[in-house]
């Protein structure tokens, strides 16, 4: 245990660091997306600002800050302003229970690479995400315009529906690892079976079906293609954020990408063994490697996100709902039952 002052100092440093890294990551995920999608479509993507357009996110940020912040006269002001804040705060909060790697020694103290480890870490993430729905729903409602309202309605219906599948897909992992604490879930996936296959939940826990469900539900939760109905440009003129501009719009943007990163982190932790991987080399490398593995896995996940966006068309709304309720939901239940049986048999 750390003493209180050190704990406080460490926490503040960690929070600042994590937020800084997260925001940078958000900015560069946007860059990555533009670049990758560009290449997929035989374009260059951003290439003018800095080498390979690497400074583009910075330019974008400056643009958002300097733009005039319009608030249309017909909106319901308090909620119109609060909505993007809710969205972005919820998106940033959920990162706080994610473990990025093993504990590292700093000046004689062992400091875990995680802002806080809670017994109910996973539930905190789920709770915060479920509050995040309000951001979108209220944005749609308070804008007082039909496109926004439809977008908001669609978004809240979609997110509530897919949250169920998301939650159910996680239950399988919980049964296998027996804890809500993300640290312990990662711990439980350490080691190998049959000599070489890592004991990740996706392999050892037979959670590949759950992983698939999680993937689908996560895409829907973050309103990404092929489930980006709430903000479908062609039918809803960008949906719930039609009326938003400048910084408020940027907040939604940030929230979306921060959510993507959280979802990717969560997938890594729950299914892909978190920071687990082969450790070798000198002690310093051994300390850094878990974090490296973690980031690499998250990157793969983010890349898949972008890849899917570049490849798949959008669903129709009824198809989306039918897919969620008639396919994913029964599948998740079946997975749950099978997992429970397997675990009961093993013990």
């Amino acid at each position: 245990m750390l003493s209180l002052p050190i704990f406080l100092v460490a926490s503040v440093v960690k929070i600042v660091l994590v937020i800084f890294i997260l925001l940078t990551a958000v900015a560069y995920t946007v860059w990555l997306e533009r670049k990758v999608v560009g290449h997929m479509q035989n374009r260059w993507g951003p290439s003018r600002v800095g080498p390979f357009g690497l400074l583009q996110p910075l330019a974008d940020g400056v643009k958002f800050l300097l733009k005039e912040d319009l608030t249309p006269p017909h909106v319901y002001r308090p909620l119109f302003i609060a909505a993007p804040m809710i969205a972005v705060i919820c998106a940033l909060t959920s990162i706080s229970v994610i473990p990025f790697g093993t504990a590292i020694p700093v000046a004689g103290h062992i400091i875990p690479l995680q802002i806080t480890d809670l017994n109910i870490g996973l539930l905190v993430i789920l709770g915060v995400t479920s509050i995040g729905v309000y951001g979108v729903a209220l944005a749609g409602w308070s804008s007082n315009s039909k496109y926004s309202l439809l977008g908001g309605l669609r978004a809240s219906a979609q997110m509530v529906s897919y949250e169920i599948c998301l939650g159910l897909s996680l239950v399988g992992v919980l049964i296998v690892s027996g804890s809500f604490s993300l640290q312990q879930i990662v711990e439980s996936q350490r080691g190998y079976f049959w000599g070489f296959i890592p004991k990740w939940n996706i392999f050892y826990g037979c959670q590949f079906v759950a992983f698939f469900i999680y993937l689908m539900a996560a895409y829907a939760e973050t309103n990404r293609i092929p489930f980006d109905l709430p903000e479908a440009e062609t039918e809803l003129v960008a949906g719930y954020h039609t009326e938003y501009s400048a910084m408020k719009f940027a907040m939604f943007f940030m929230a979306e990408y921060a959510n993507m990163i959280t979802v990717a982190c969560l997938a890594t932790i729950l299914f892909l063994g978190g920071g687990n991987g082969p450790l070798f080399g000198p002690p310093l490398l051994r300390l850094i490697l878990p974090t490296f593995y973690f980031v690499a896995k998250v990157f793969v996940f983010l890349f898949t996100y972008i890849w899917v966006r570049g490849t798949l068309p959008r669903f129709r709304y009824d198809q989306l709902m039918a897919f969620g309720w008639k396919f994913l939901f029964p599948l998740a239940i079946a997975n749950l039952v099978v997992t429970a049986l397997v675990v009961a048999y093993r013990s």
Binding site: L79, L118, N119, I120, L123, V124, L126, G127, V128, T129, S130, I131, V133, Y134, A137, L138, G140, W141, L149, G152, L153, S156, A157, V160, E163, F180
Partner: protein, 172 residues
């Protein structure tokens, strides 16, 4: 000390949210005030050690039930509440009655619990212990809730789906 301060702060937020719920005239503001009340109640649960309850409170209550409310308010495009006659009668008769009843109950509660105090995290409700209780001692109620949920689903489908227009409404 920390416990008391946290209790008071979040208790105050709770009460403020509840009063705001009463004062606001738009249903969506009332619904959001209730979300605030629920979130700060979750903190109160945490103070009492009921961490699992707190998490479920946020996920189920604030995150699902209230979203449903907001959704319906958006769907029906509910506007600002009209003040009609009935409300004034209830205002004059109801509030003093409720306050008197509340005072009586408060007095009784204090009489019973006396000066008993609870510490921070007095009764840790870990998911595991709660689960054991839920799937053993409370197994039957737990299973019976599935019937309840089934009824709720059927009811929602029956009532909210569009009635078949075979026979147009003729009653007054």
């Amino acid at each position: 000390m920390l416990h008391l301060v946290l209790f008071l702060v979040f208790g105050a937020i709770c009460v403020a949210g509840a009063i705001n719920l009463l004062v606001q005239s738009h249903p969506i503001s009332s619904a959001l005030s209730l979300v605030v009340v629920m979130a700060s109640l979750a903190v109160e649960y945490l103070l009492l050690g009921a961490e699992f309850v707190a998490a479920v409170q946020v996920i189920v209550y604030a995150g699902a039930v209230m979203v449903l409310f907001v959704f319906v308010i958006m769907l029906l495009n509910a506007g600002v509440e009209e003040r009609t006659k009935g409300s004034r009668v209830a205002l004059i008769l109801g509030i003093p009655g409720v306050l008197a009843g509340g005072l009586l109950v408060a007095w009784v509660l204090i009489e019973r619990t006396g000066t008993a105090t609870v510490g921070l995290g007095a009764l840790p409700g870990f998911p595991k212990t709660i689960g054991n209780l839920l799937f053993h001692d409370f197994l039957l109620p737990f299973e019976v809730t599935s019937v309840l949920v089934l009824i709720a689903i059927m009811g929602a489908v029956v009532l909210a789906s569009r009635p078949e227009p075979k026979n147009p409404e003729k009653e007054s």
